[in-house]
């Protein structure tokens, strides 16, 4: 066992050296961030940090991360969600920073970020509040569109005002035709105009014997499957049990290639699922909190579950569908086998930097380029 690990490590190192010298092959990395201002690329073959970046000042508390479609730029939300910072991963340079306030005395936080499939535009869901002399005035929530080449003082080139409230995530359809906004309800928007094409009132959903869905989605993990998967739970049950023993009623699936979404109930899940991600072949979903659960999506049933060492908040699947990456807060990213769910490896961030609320994404890029 021990020998095997060493061998693969050496092999990995060799391959890496080869790859580096040849300036070729793209590789898969985990892209994540940690307090106070770190950004990391973790080489998934070598199970080690490949590059560490410092977000340029001012930047603390990185949270959401959206990779550009070519994987070369990481858009990082930081400073209590008040800034969007674009870092070019090959050079480590800051190439983008959005200044969200549009008038003096406006304070804006970002609550959803996505990049158009051509990489040209950045969509930011924004909650603006104006601070007047003797009062705050909450403004209608909006989506601002920034040009990716807007530079370090990027200003919105389009603004969609009066957007639905309580949106948590923005996602793009693969063809770039639709912008999805997901929060307590789900909307399809026209990315050119911000017009609502369709609204699905998840929260007001009527189903016999079930209370309305509660969707709590912090991190989209569609990069391996082109499917965005989220847990929707029985909202009031969750309140009653405050994250323990929650009845998971269903999984929400949004196929970003085909533009269809489904909400399907899952049988046999006993544990809280804080987050889930689908496998590339869309047959399984992996998720959990204190346990790792494997769910058969065709059968809508739990296949297997294993205990984890602590509570984890994020679950990603590798591009080949063979591994599950489990992370969120603290400094460890645990790698489990997607087949038998056994633990395979742990990657620790240098100096045990705390990921806190930072997103964990899987990206494919060629660092040599």
């Amino acid at each position: 066992m021990r020998r095997q690990v060493t061998l693969t490590t050496i092999l990995g190192a060799l391959l890496f050296a080869l790859a580096a010298s040849a300036h070729a092959a793209e590789k898969d990395y985990i892209l994540t961030a940690a307090n106070p201002n770190k950004l990391y690329l973790i080489d998934l073959k070598r199970r080690a940090v490949a590059r560490a970046y410092e977000l340029p000042d001012p930047a603390v508390g990185p949270s959401f991360i959206e990779p550009s479609p070519d994987g070369r730029i990481a858009y990082v939300v930081a400073n209590q969600a008040r800034d969007i910072i674009g870092i070019e991963l090959t050079s480590g340079k800051e190439v983008f920073r959005a200044h969200m306030p549009q008038v003096k005395n406006e304070r804006v936080v970002n609550f959803g970020l996505t990049v158009s499939p051509d990489g040209a535009k950045i969509y930011s869901y924004e909650i603006p509040v104006q601070a007047k002399l003797d009062r705050y005035e909450a403004q209608p929530n909006r989506i601002a569109v920034y040009a990716a080449n807007g530079g370090l003082d990027a200003k919105a080139e389009a603004v969609f005002i009066n957007m639905p409230r309580r949106i948590r995530l923005l996602l793009f359809s693969k063809d770039g035709q639709h912008l999805y906004a997901l929060g307590s309800n789900f909307y399809t928007l026209d990315p050119e105009t911000g017009r609502i094409i369709a609204a699905y009132p998840l929260r007001q959903w009527q189903e016999p014997d079930a209370s309305p869905y509660d969707t709590l989605n912090f991190w989209p993990t569609p990069e391996s499957s082109d499917v965005f998967t989220a847990v929707v739970v029985d909202g009031r049950a969750e309140v009653a049990r405050s994250y323990q023993n929650t009845d998971v009623t269903a999984l929400f699936h949004l196929d970003l290639k085909q533009g269809v979404f489904t909400v399907s109930p899952i049988k046999g899940v006993q544990d809280t699922l804080f987050a889930v991600a689908a496998s590339p072949d869309k047959r399984f979903a992996f998720g959990g909190f204190r346990t790792l659960s494997k769910i058969d999506l065709k059968k809508g049933a739990l296949v297997k579950r294993v205990d984890l060492d602590r509570s984890y908040y994020q679950f990603n699947v590798s591009r080949d569908g063979r591994e599950v990456y489990i992370s969120g807060a603290m400094c460890d990213i645990v790698i489990h086998d997607a087949g038998n769910l056994e633990k395979k490896a742990v990657v620790l961030l240098p100096d045990c930097a705390d990921m806190a609320g930072a997103a964990v994404r899987v990206v494919r890029l060629d660092l040599g380029k």
Partner: protein, 539 residues
């Protein structure tokens, strides 16, 4: 509109100041020293009007449209100082709170239902509201924080803008995401609060016109600290300045020690007594209200660093010839047994009577304190009964019982909080209260009666299967022989399954012996994460 009465005082004070500084000191009589309230009026006019602009009638924008308790003003001022760069000296700060609470405070009738918040009573179950209002406004803080403010709908709306300005994520939290929080807050919530808790009320108008009371003199006090017992004494209150007093208390503590405590008290809004000082080098605070009779105060004193630990007290004037028993140290008197009880009160004269079937032998007495041996006949009538001293009656103060039928642990539902290096833990105190099932022998019917607090042995156990699997009872904390649960430290515990925190879901179990019979009672205790001080209460 509403003219801030107090702001007129500013003009007067300012005029006096101007006179004083003009120089001709020999001819002009020395101006009376500024009262704290006048100083406060000046501070508000000077410091607050920078942002809260004065209208033609002298009212200040926003500021003049809200009434709050002293604690409410304290919270707002603290926020002005921490987020708006307002800089006030400690004296100016105090003065501003005094002025605002006096001129824009709440009437006694308006605070009466919510005094538990001002007194920082732990584990109060708030009632009387619909579930929607609870979800909207009483999950981060008590509803009392809301109900202890008065403003019209428009001002309530502005407060919700403030909430969103300070906590942009508010709408994403559990109990907010299941609704259109913002739309509801701006809509029916503001409207409802504006009509339930409006700025202008006849209660406040009338109270504002009532004369002020002089608190000087001698007062008798009796305090009860759950888990510990009774403390009692006498305090002498002397005036230091207008509405400011010095208190010299001679106290007999619950464990029998005699101590002297000197501290300061201030009166807000003519009835809100706030005392503060040190005992054993530890800061305490007391919040009490003068009652409508003008001679009684009720309230609670507590440790500043642990507000859940405190004493509920009653204070009565001892210099007005009043005759009143105030407390009996033991409520439950068993048939056929002799029990020593102490009656604490003021000016107690005349015969002590505990009613039919109880022979009373007084072993010692003063006007403040009577110790009696109560010999209860084997056939004495069962149930609650009055205690009489001369003509004074303490209604239903004791109970005669033959056996304990059940034990209730109070509070039945409690929360304790783990402590961190930054935030002190919050403990929880339990008591075992004995009940008799009454003549029908059936528990839970109308003829049940309370026997009183009884000694118990304490233990904790997992509340349910999940808590048992997680072994919560081994990690969440410990319970003392006095029934106080002391929580463990916050943060992940590597010893636990999943490295979980020391949070836990527990049963608190009291075991009581009544002769040969052993009874138990249970409460539900949730041990959870630390809470930031701003959400801890105090209105």
């Amino acid at each position: 509109m509403r003219l801030p009465a107090g702001l007129k005082a500013v003009a007067v004070a300012a005029a006096l100041m101007a006179l004083a500084s003009c120089g001709e000191e020999k001819e002009t009589p020395a101006p009376p020293p500024l009262t704290l309230r006048d100083l406060g009026a000046e501070v508000v006019a000077r410091e607050c009007s920078l942002c809260h602009r004065a209208a033609a009638d002298g009212s200040l924008s926003r500021l003049s449209g809200i009434r709050k308790t002293p604690e409410g003003w304290e919270m707002t001022l603290a926020r002005m100082e921490s987020t708006r760069g307002v800089k006030l000296s400690p004296q100016d700060h105090r003065a501003a709170v005094k002025f605002l609470a006096d001129t824009q405070g709440l009437a006694p009738s308006e605070t009466a239902p919510y005094r538990y918040e001002l007194e920082r009573r732990p584990n109060v179950v708030e009632s009387g509201r619909n579930a929607d209002l609870t979800s909207m406004c009483a999950r981060c803080h008590a509803f009392a924080r809301v109900a202890l403010q008065r403003r019209d709908a428009e001002e309530w709306r502005r407060l919700f803008h403030t909430h969103l300005g300070l906590w942009p994520t508010l709408e994403y939290q559990v109990l907010a995401r299941d609704r259109d929080w913002w739309e509801e807050a701006q809509g029916w919530v503001a409207t409802a609060l504006g009509s339930h808790f409006p700025y202008d009320t006849s209660d406040w108008r009338e109270w504002s016109a009532a004369p002020a009371v002089d608190f000087q003199g001698r007062w008798r006090f009796v305090g009860y600290m759950p888990g510990e017992g009774f403390a009692e004494g006498v305090m002498t209150v002397t005036r230091n300045a207008v509405d400011e007093y010095l208190v010299a208390a001679e106290e007999q503590t619950a464990d029998g020690a005699a101590i002297n405590v000197n501290y300061a008290a201030i009166i807000y809004s003519k009835y809100e007594w706030r005392g503060s000082g040190k005992r054993d080098n530890r800061d305490f605070y007391e919040a009490a209200a003068l009652q409508a009779d003008g001679v009684t105060m009720t309230g609670r004193s507590y440790w500043r660093d642990a507000p859940e630990m405190g004493s509920n007290f009653v204070v009565v004037r001892a210099d007005r010839g009043l005759q009143r028993p105030l407390a009996v140290t033991k409520e439950g008197l068993k048939r056929g047994a002799s029990t020593e009880i102490t009656i604490l009160g003021v000016g107690m004269k005349g015969e002590v009577s505990l009613g039919d079937g109880i022979a009373v032998r007084v072993t010692s007495r003063s006007e403040d304190k009577i110790v009696v041996m109560a010999e209860v006949a084997a056939d004495a009538p069962l149930g609650r009964r009055d205690v009489r001293v001369g003509d004074a009656v303490m209604a239903q103060a004791v109970a005669v019982y033959d056996k304990i039928d059940r034990i209730e642990v109070t509070p039945g539902q409690a929360t304790a909080r783990l402590g961190s290096d930054k935030i002190a833990p919050v403990s929880a105190q339990f008591e075992a209260v004995a009940y008799a099932s009454g003549g029908d022998g059936i528990a839970g019917t109308d003829d049940d009666f309370r026997i009183g607090v009884v000694a118990a042995a304490w233990d904790v156990a997992p509340y349910d299967e999940e808590a048992s699997r997680m072994k919560d009872h081994l990690y969440a904390g410990k319970i003392t022989p006095h029934g106080r649960f002391l929580p463990s430290e916050a943060g992940g515990n590597p010893e636990r399954l999943y490295g979980a925190s020391n949070a836990g879901d527990l049963k608190v179990i009291a075991t009581v012996a009544d002769g040969d019979v052993t009874l138990t009672g249970e409460a539900h205790l949730i041990v959870t994460k630390p809470l930031p001080p701003t959400q801890r209460g105090g209105a």
